[in-house]
């Protein structure tokens, strides 16, 4: 009677078994033979470093940075031999000689000048452009109107094959930190990048520990091989395969199945990641801050006590445990601890204290009407802001608190830039180099890229930041940056929530996964299984 279904399911089982075999062998066998491992990445928009906004993982192994920072904040030189200045404005970068691009071309001061000029030239439309804004001559390449007359940065001078002189528009003690790996705009380019820009964008030739032997295949990826002539620290594996994923949740599942060795963990998986991966889960505080901005120009939000009351009504560690599986770190300052010299535990109003919050709100005259929290939809932030809204409602007895998503990031950013958000708003600022300068300047000055997140600037803060920028040594600069953030905290213009995190999950085929201030270090990973 049920012959048909039985034979059907038998056929299915056979098909499944066949699939399982071929899938299994090609996965593990391939990795073991080459001594390499596989990394899940998002599809990059471009692979020319100054142009790319998504290609970090690939570019950081294809290129060697001038400077690197270790987890303790100490600077070490990679392609640079030294980066020196007497006045923090005129910098001399000495390159190591004898280093070559993967095509054999020597890495010279000119390779840097060419790359920086191309990145800084506005009509090229390269997204790394803003990273070079501190160099003299940047304004001439980026006029407010019309085409720029100049094509090269007047502040970048090639004075020898391996000597580059850089003049900044104003003194900046943090310039060496700006030359670290995530600032893609500061990598050098060989001549080939200009003779065949289209081809180069798919198959970049760098000066780093790995070289690309076959061009990037759109939506699939490619394999990079260890570059034998690399003069820096040798990488611990012979090859890295980058696999392109449209959805990081899928990459996560693929690591569980052992088809990919390493993937960035998406926020939606934080709650289960510890249980799924145990000690193969790696977390590190990123130089990023998750916070909420307030419309400071609005009368309702002008009382500092109100802003502090809102902040103190949020139980960050409860949210962290409930939603993020405890993987985030509640913010206790404005600058994440991964930034060199950053102080934490200096934000009293970041601690949960319901009684004090209620008291402050009462002193500030209470709250009437609706309080909204606007955040971009589609990024997995819904649970966070629903929880925050709940806490504000319950802990402050505010009648109506609503978490309102926009359709997508594009709509959110348009609203934010046009100043159309009326209540609290989601904000995130990730620094590209591990200096407090990047965070404080980015969020709390008029020149900062995230000024719309905070709507805040202040003369005292500007002055302290400027003093820090001109400081002669790291320690005194750090002290001044910390003074500046303490000054900002007095005004309490934003509600800090968490420090951002880099969180990765791996299979047991690889070891030595280290995450540092510049994100994951793929060249330190070795294949064991």
């Amino acid at each position: 009677m049920f012959t048909a279904p039985a034979s059907l399911s038998l056929a299915l089982v056979l098909a499944l078994a066949g699939a399982g075999c071929s899938g299994g062998t090609s996965g593990s066998g391939g990795a073991a033979k080459t001594g390499g491992f596989t990394v899940a990445v998002a599809e990059p928009d471009h692979l020319t470093p100054g142009r790319s906004t998504v290609g970090w993982d690939q570019l950081r192994v294809l290129f060697a940075p001038l400077v690197k920072v270790d987890a303790l904040g100490a600077i070490s030189y990679v392609q640079a031999k030294s980066v020196t200045s007497t006045d923090a404005r005129h910098w001399t970068i000495e390159l190591r000689s004898g280093w070559k691009f993967h095509n054999g071309e020597a890495v010279t001061a000119q390779s840097y000048a060419d790359a920086w000029n191309a990145t800084a030239y506005a009509p090229n439309g390269w997204s790394g452009n803003g990273q070079l804004a501190g160099i003299e001559g940047y304004a001439a390449l980026n006029p407010a109107k019309g085409k720029p007359k100049a094509k090269t940065l007047s502040g970048v001078k090639v004075v020898g094959a391996t000597t580059l002189e850089v003049t900044l528009t104003s003194p900046d003690s943090q310039f060496p930190l700006q030359l670290t790996p995530s600032q893609l705009g500061f990598y050098p380019l060989p001549k080939a990048a200009f003779t065949d820009p289209k081809g180069y964008d798919k198959k970049p030739i760098g000066n780093g520990p790995f070289k690309m032997t076959t061009a990037w295949k759109a939506d699939e990826g490619t394999t990079v091989k260890a570059y034998a002539a690399y003069r820096g620290t040798r990488p611990k594996s012979s090859a890295i395969t980058f696999k392109s994923y449209a959805d990081l949740n899928t990459a996560y599942t693929d690591v569980q199945a052992g088809n990919v060795d390493l993937a960035y963990v998406p926020v939606s998986k934080y709650g289960q990641a510890k249980a799924d991966f145990g000690d193969r889960l790696y977390t590190y505080d990123a130089p990023a801050l998750e916070f909420m901005g307030l419309p400071l120009q609005d009368k309702k939000f002008q009382d500092i006590r109100l802003r502090k009351a809102l902040s103190m009504a949020i139980d960050r560690s409860a949210v962290n445990k409930a939603i993020y599986g405890g993987l985030y770190t509640p913010a206790t300052s404005l600058t994440p601890s991964s930034e060199v010299g950053a102080e934490t535990d200096i934000c009293d109003a970041c601690a949960f204290d319901q009684a004090a919050a209620k008291k402050l709100l009462k002193e500030a005259g209470g709250w009437s009407g609706e309080l909204t929290i606007t955040y971009p939809g589609g990024l997995g932030l819904d649970e966070l802001y629903k929880a925050v809204a709940n806490q504000l409602r319950q802990n402050l007895d505010i009648g109506s608190v609503k978490a309102v998503p926009t359709a997508d990031w594009a709509e959110f950013s348009e609203k934010a830039f046009a100043g159309k958000i009326t209540g609290l708003n989601h904000s995130h600022w990730g620094a590209l180099y591990p200096s407090m300068q990047a965070t404080l300047r980015g969020i709390f000055t008029k020149a900062g890229g995230c000024q719309v997140c905070s709507h805040y600037s202040d003369g005292d803060v500007d002055k302290l930041l400027q003093q820090a920028d001109t400081a002669s040594d790291t320690a005194s600069a750090a002290k001044l940056y910390n003074d500046a953030q303490k000054r900002v905290l007095q005004d309490f213009p934003v509600i800090p929530l968490f420090y951002g995190s880099y969180i990765y999950a791996s299979t047991d085929k690889i070891s030595g996964v280290t995450v540092g201030p510049a994100d994951i270090e793929l060249s330190r990973i070795s294949v064991v299984g």
Partner: protein, 307 residues
């Protein structure tokens, strides 16, 4: 001949109308595509301006559409915001969607019709009830729940299928996603076929055929089945058009870089040329599918004629 020319001219008008409407729809989407391009780290204003100029984003709608059409007459389907050619992307992605769609469609047709006939012939027995329970389950579980569950259970836990990607090629990489895509259609087809077969089994011509001494096999296999397939064929043809449109969710979950994913990403990025290019191709496919339905139906039932 004049009929053909008239149809072609009509099609051309339809194309311009539809492409303008779609272009306008991406144009009015809220949010600035260039701002969205850079993520949470804003672009330098000078760069944003340069990119806006490159992509004619500050021009009014009709001028932008004009630029698009001008490119089209030179055989250029345009580029997205990171400079990738729309034609190239479609060429890369169609084969993936085609393989997924045809695999799923094949499963729907063969298994769907098979289960439907089986349930009808064994009406009222527990085979019938099992098929019924299965079809209710398949139609009521949302496709992404099914996909994630199948991925975790069959891919991760049991390791029978590759979890994602198309590195193992067809059919290995496509079986599990195709099964998930096909689940809903398969259930629908089997329900349609079951109902039709039951109805036709009671029809006069079947009684006559049986009375004339035809074997049951021939009665069911030729006469009943042929008459019962019309609604299923209509459903399957329309569904093929839908499947070829790419299944955004399945392609996303299983990381298959197909056409649905491309369209989804393009809409999110507000990339006008990509959206128009892909949607126009999809419209053509739907039109072709509906013609196919008509032809097949007239083959199955000679009384249906298209004059």
């Amino acid at each position: 001949m004049t009929y053909l020319v008239r149809r072609l001219l009509e099609a051309l008008l339809v194309f311009f109308g539809i492409s303008l409407v779609i272009y306008a729809m991406t144009y009015v989407l809220p949010g600035d595509p260039i701002a969205a391009l850079a993520g949470d780290r804003p672009l330098a204003p000078s760069v944003a301006r340069a990119l806006r100029e490159q992509h004619h984003l500050d021009d009014p709608l009709l001028v932008q559409y004009g630029h698009y059409l001008a490119g089209l007459f030179h055989g250029d389907l345009g580029t997205d915001f990171s400079g990738r050619s729309v034609a190239e992307q479609m060429a890369d992605r169609w084969p993936v969607t085609l393989k997924l769609a045809l695999t799923a469609w094949g499963i729907e047709a063969v298994v769907g019709v098979g289960l439907g006939v089986l349930a009808a012939l064994r009406q009222g027995t527990w085979t019938d009830r099992t098929v019924l329970a299965f079809t209710i389950g398949a139609t009521s579980v949302p496709v992404f729940v099914l996909a994630y569950t199948a991925q975790v259970v069959l891919g991760v836990r049991l390791g029978w299928f590759p979890v994602a990607g198309n590195t193992d090629g067809w059919p290995t990489s496509y079986l599990l996603p195709a099964l998930c895509v096909a689940a809903f259609g398969l259930a629908s087809v089997s329900r349609l076929v079951r109902a039709e077969v039951i109805e036709n089994l009671r029809a006069d011509y079947v009684r006559t055929a049986v009375a004339k001494g035809l074997t049951r096999r021939r009665v069911v296999g030729v006469h009943v089945l042929r008459n019962s397939l019309i609604p299923a064929v209509t459903y399957l043809a329309i569904d093929l058009g839908y499947l070829l449109g790419g299944t955004v969710i399945i392609e996303g979950v299983f990381n298959l870089p197909g056409i649905g994913q491309l369209l989804f990403q393009a809409i999110r990025a507000h990339a006008g040329p990509t959206v128009v290019g892909v949607s126009t191709a999809l419209i053509l496919i739907f039109l072709a599918a509906s013609v196919l339905v008509d032809l097949l139906n007239s083959l199955l039932d000679p009384r249906i004629r298209h004059d």
